[in-house]
Symmetry: C2
């Protein structure tokens, strides 16, 4: 029996192989890795800025900041106090892939990392198809984008483990119903963990930090137990 | 001299050929066609809903509504009173291409159209590479997304003719500087026309309608003159 293999399948299987290598390296070193995905302007960089300020002394953080053009996000993270930041400029590509991440990872001091954020390109479609070796995907959406987004971009919400709803301080000003957003997301993925917060007002951020602390701790315990 | 042609180049050249066919058909019939692009949640469907209410009796409108999954946008447009709506569900693809549009166009009564909107998939990266036979691209961004987006997603802003800044009623509530946004966009594309508006409060919509009326009129005159 023969089977036709498309170019897209070959690219993805090569990507999966590289991602598996990354995942294995992260596991061996006890690095918890988050692939942070969202639309443009949902607040990925703002969330990381707040996280650096709050946890930068407590947890050994590193960040890979992906962007189509510019290194603006990486610059913002450095200004926020991040010690280890690697920018990836995709030069037009709509997503990060495992090869780009592997190249950046080689430039990081992995022994000095407990929590690695990969800030993906702002795009709710394409990044969902590319495993980057992360422990899990966190999908960020903001109240200003509308509560229908999980239904309209289901691939991303299906493949994410945590859904962060940002700009919750603007809830009353938008035609956004929180119950509807959560119900729509659960319809796509019944296993999602939900966090609501505002990077601007600060409300809800303590829960995010608590979730991160716990994830990092679990990962360290897994390493010791293996 | 030989030249290597990549798969991507072949796909795009086939797309360009189909798009040129569409453009020629639209020109012959005097149809002004807009490819409406933005991030998810910038307000493409809301802008079309308002446009249907305001201009639906005055201009013969038709809409092709592209979405990764669901036909929610097409349903919203029908509820707003649109007489001619065709949904395209891409089934995971991150953009519309000319083949999908040509298939939808064949199902429209083209003699009864003066203004055709193609609402693209919510994505600031991939749709910029696919000509759909439109007269021009209108890129929509909202104040809640941040004023840096033209620099970060330059391909889309470079290939657009009009930049609509939506949710202008929320300007004071966001860390969005209008001058900075315009300056960033001009840096990428010096020929952009700018419109600021709010689909919610209605401010600025008359300018949008005026711009559309003029575009449709010019297109009709071009047909008569050819």
């Amino acid at each position: 029996m023969t089977r036709k293999v498309t170019v897209a399948e070959k690219v993805l299987s090569e990507n999966d192989r590289l991602a598996a290598d990354l995942r294995e390296r992260f596991a061996r070193l006890g690095i918890f890795c988050i692939n942070l995905v969202s639309s443009p302007g949902s607040g990925k960089t703002s969330l990381l800025e707040r996280t650096i300020s709050a946890l930068g002394e407590e947890i050994k953080l590193a960040m890979i900041a992906g962007d189509v053009q510019t290194e603006n996000d990486a610059d913002r993270l450095r200004r926020a106090g991040a010690r280890m930041v690697r920018p990836i400029t995709t030069g037009g590509a709509c997503h990060l892939d495992a090869r780009m991440v592997a190249k950046s990872v080689d430039q990081l001091d992995l022994e000095e990392i407990e929590l690695l954020f990969i800030e993906n390109v702002g795009n709710l479609v394409c990044p969902s198809s590319y495993d980057l070796g992360e422990d899990l995907k966190v999908v960020l959406m903001s109240t200003t984008e509308g509560d229908d987004k999980p239904l309209k971009y289901p691939g991303m919400f299906r493949r994410s483990s945590v859904m962060v709803i940002n700009k919750i301080d603007m809830l009353e000003l938008c035609d956004f119903d929180l119950d509807t957003a959560v119900r729509n997301a659960r319809q796509i993925n019944g296993n999602l963990t939900f966090l609501t917060l505002s990077c601007r007002s600060g409300v809800g951020l303590e829960d995010w930090y608590g979730w991160l602390r716990n994830a990092v701790e679990q990962k360290q315990l897994q390493r010791l137990g293996s």
